[in-house]
């Protein structure tokens, strides 16, 4: 081993290089607060490794991107974990970078001669955010698409540069060109750029040394092993948190991007939410204040901090103004973020694509009209003669009907006059209205040997609710299980977004909850209200 090291040392000088790196002297006051810089580098490495792994199974074109990511998450071994690490790693990297900046700011470590180190750091912050922004589009789900639509619109509104930025981002609208630009930026441009900037940043840190405290009492110490140990503890704790998040917190992958989905409420990743909220405070011609001027000014101020504050180093306790400034910034950021979270309603159809439809009961897969037919299947006691595929009954097995009977028209005429359609049939005529016979036919046509048992056991309340849904013609304006007309919002999974109380109030007086709603009020009695709410709340 020693010989090998000597050989390498002689040829490359690696041992000297590593030693001079590890045994660099740092101020005695350095300790836990100073680990944040290394942590940021650590997360950059994690993002690099997981990003490369994702790229091995990822197709960088819209549509394909979504399918390949779905493939990574549902079929590739460990794919969900790798994506989880990359997704949550991005968020944690932002946290760590901001904490690093906060520490340097509070300790006044940006002061002479370390101004350039700080400025390089601000550029690295912007690059980190650019990674987040460009990576956000790459899953090409609704969240990605609509979030990026907003981003590009903001860029388009920038005074003067707007039209050029739009061209740079791939032209009007978010499409294949925008996607290619974002992918290239995220994967081809930003990583080497970041490496270069990190190299310069670290070079500057080394050139000036780690910033000492205002008063250093003890002699300087070595970076290795004590400080490296502290860094390592930090890495380990952060890595455990990241790993647990990747394993246990679901990473969003929504429906494939749908540019026609006008119900979708776009929102950016959490660390951009404050900008999103800021934007709402400025209306009309003032919008550019919130979208470009204020953020631009904030970045400029951040960049120029070492030029603005040129006082000599003082103890942390004496940096009251700096602390107040940082506290104010954090409160402002936190407040805007919290406000954004609280004022943005959850999304319709925002269900993750990982949603497992095999967990659904069979009756939940029926359209409202099909399920409402079960009302009459029960009231007419069809099961007395058609007891199901596994039992013998007077009538034929409904799951095994011949193909030429498998249409609503045939069924309805058979219901009305059984022996005219099937000579010799012993079945009594079913005396129901046409619309009810239609529903009954649709239900019977859905029966298969596999789902029959579950369908016939569908909860009474839900079936009754489905019947009210049909009789009230809800599907004239709403979609549910893919059936109906999309004038109002689709009702799939409405229970994820609203509770019983909300639904009830919304039926009684829609405009009290949705001021712009065109929905008429529905006067259900108590039992009807129970049924329709039970049904809607149970539909996925």
């Amino acid at each position: 081993m020693r010989e090998l090291i000597d050989w390498l040392e002689h040829r490359t000088g690696i041992e000297t290089a590593v030693k001079s790196f590890l045994y660099e002297e740092i101020p005695a006051s350095s300790g836990w607060p100073q680990i944040m810089g290394s942590m940021a580098l650590f997360f950059f490495m994690i993002q690099g490794v997981t990003g490369i792994l994702l790229a091995f199974n990822y197709a960088p074109t819209p549509g394909e991107a979504y399918n390949s990511l779905r493939y990574i998450m549902t079929e590739v071994t460990g794919g969900r974990l790798i994506r989880g690490l990359h997704h949550w790693g991005a968020s944690m990297m932002i946290v760590v970078v901001v904490l690093h900046m906060l520490q340097v700011f509070l300790f006044g470590a940006y002061k002479k001669p370390r101004e350039a180190t700080w400025m390089m750091g601000v550029i690295l912050l912007l690059v980190t955010l650019a990674f987040g922004l460009t990576g956000y589009l790459l899953p090409w789900d609704n969240r990605a698409y609509w979030g990026t639509v907003v981003t590009t619109q903001i860029a388009a509104g920038a005074p003067g540069a707007g039209p050029y930025l739009v061209r740079l981002l791939g032209g009007e609208g978010v499409g294949v060109v925008t996607f290619a630009r974002f992918f290239a930026a995220h994967v081809v441009l930003l990583p080497p750029l970041t490496l270069l900037l990190i190299a310069v940043h670290v070079y500057l840190v080394r050139k000036h040394g780690v910033a000492p405290a205002a008063v250093e009492t003890a002699p300087r110490k070595k970076f290795y092993p004590q400080q490296v140990y502290k860094d390592t503890v930090g890495f380990f704790v952060a890595f455990i948190i990241l790993f647990l998040m990747a394993v246990f917190v679901q990473v969003p992958l929504e429906k494939l991007a749908d540019p026609t989905d006008t119900n979708y409420i776009p929102r950016p990743e959490w660390y951009f939410l404050f900008l999103f909220q800021l934007l709402k405070s400025f209306k009309g011609p003032l919008e550019i204040v919130g979208s470009t001027l204020l953020p631009g000014l904030a970045i400029l101020v951040l960049f120029c901090i070492p030029l603005i504050d040129r006082e000599p180093m003082v103890r942390l306790g004496k940096r009251v103004f700096a602390m107040a400034f940082a506290a104010l910034a954090l409160v402002g950021w936190g407040g805007l973020t919290a406000e954004a979270i609280m004022t943005t309603p959850p999304n319709p159809g925002g269900r993750a694509a990982g949603f497992d439809s095999s967990q659904l009961r069979d009756w939940q897969k029926l359209t409202p009209e099909e399920l409402s037919g079960l009302t009459y299947f029960r009231s007419e006691n069809c099961v007395a003669c058609h007891p199901g595929a596994r039992k013998k009954g007077t009538g034929p097995d409904l799951t095994q009907m011949p193909d030429n009977h498998r249409n609503v028209a045939w069924m309805v005429s058979h219901f009305k006059a059984p022996d005219e359609v099937v000579p010799g049939s012993a079945m009594p005529a079913v005396r129901l209205r046409d619309s009810e016979l239609n529903a009954l036919s649709l239900f019977v046509l859905k029966l298969t040997p596999e789902n029959e048992e579950d369908l016939l056991r569908a909860p009474t309340e839900a079936v009754k609710g489905a019947n009210i849904y049909r009789e009230s013609h809800c599907s004239a304006c709403h979609q549910l299980q893919g059936a109906g007309i999309k004038i109002g919002p689709p009702l799939d999974g409405v229970g994820d977004r609203h509770n019983r109380q909300w639904l009830e109030q919304h039926f009684k007086d829609p405009r009290s909850l949705s001021p712009k709603s065109k929905m008429p009020a529905y006067k259900f009695d108590e039992a009807q209200m129970d049924a329709i709410c039970a049904y809607l709340l149970q539909m996925p």
């Binding site: 081993m1 090291i5 041992e15 590593v18 030693k19 590890l22 045994y23 994690i46 490794v49 997981t50 792994l53 091995f56 199974n57 197709a59 394909e64 399918n67 390949s68 779905r70 493939y71 549902t74 079929e75 590739v76 071994t77 460990g78 794919g79 974990l81 790798i82 690490l85 070595k222 290795y224 092993p225 004590q226 490296v228 140990y229 390592t232 503890v233 890495f235 380990f236 890595f239 790993f243």
Partner: protein, 174 residues
């Protein structure tokens, strides 16, 4: 990375300092090892294990048994679904069907030579399958008769139902 002993660190000369120092070093190398493993193991599985298999492919209705002359290997073509990563494509493929003189226990050979994947054909003259690339030769049962082929012809699962030949997935070769 080699463990590097300090040459000029006075404080570490004391016994206590040495213990603490070796604890630091052990901790650093240990934790780095753990983190590397926690990334390398999933990465290895991610890259090396085959993806979870989607629903087993169903039987494909490929041809009419009556159109296959007994005793003469016949190439039939049919559409099958190919699962390629996140893509499922329907593509045309072929199989060599051998129908015995009696009974309907047919055999279906995959159309590639087991040597380098060239398309082989049936030579009635030699009564064998011959590959044009490197002259591999297979019997009517698919056994290697000559040439560089390393194993018998690959077979599809096959069954006959109501006079129709149904082809399943490739049988794993021994």
């Amino acid at each position: 990375m080699p463990e590097i002993e300090p040459s000029s660190d006075v404080s570490s000369k004391t016994a206590q300092g040495t213990t603490r120092r070796s604890f630091y070093t052990a901790f650093i190398y240990g934790i780095w090892g753990v983190i590397t493993a926690a990334l390398a193991v999933p990465a290895g599985l991610y890259l090396l294990l085959p993806p979870a298999i989607r629903k087993e492919s169903e039987w494909i209705d490929a041809s009419d048994l009556g159109s296959i002359p007994p005793g003469v290997p016949t190439e039939i073509s049919f559409q099958h679904k190919r699962i390629d990563g996140w893509k499922v494509t329907s593509e045309k493929t072929t199989a060599w069907i051998v129908r015995p003189d009696e009974g309907d226990k047919v055999t279906a050979f995959a159309p590639q030579c087991t040597h380098l994947g060239c398309a082989y054909h049936w030579e009635e003259r030699n009564h064998s399958f011959v590959c044009p690339c490197h002259a591999s030769e297979f019997s009517i049962q698919g056994q290697v008769l000559g040439g560089p082929a390393p194993r018998p012809l690959d077979r599809y699962e096959v069954k006959v139902e109501a006079g129709r030949i149904k082809i399943g997935s490739l049988e794993p070769h021994a």
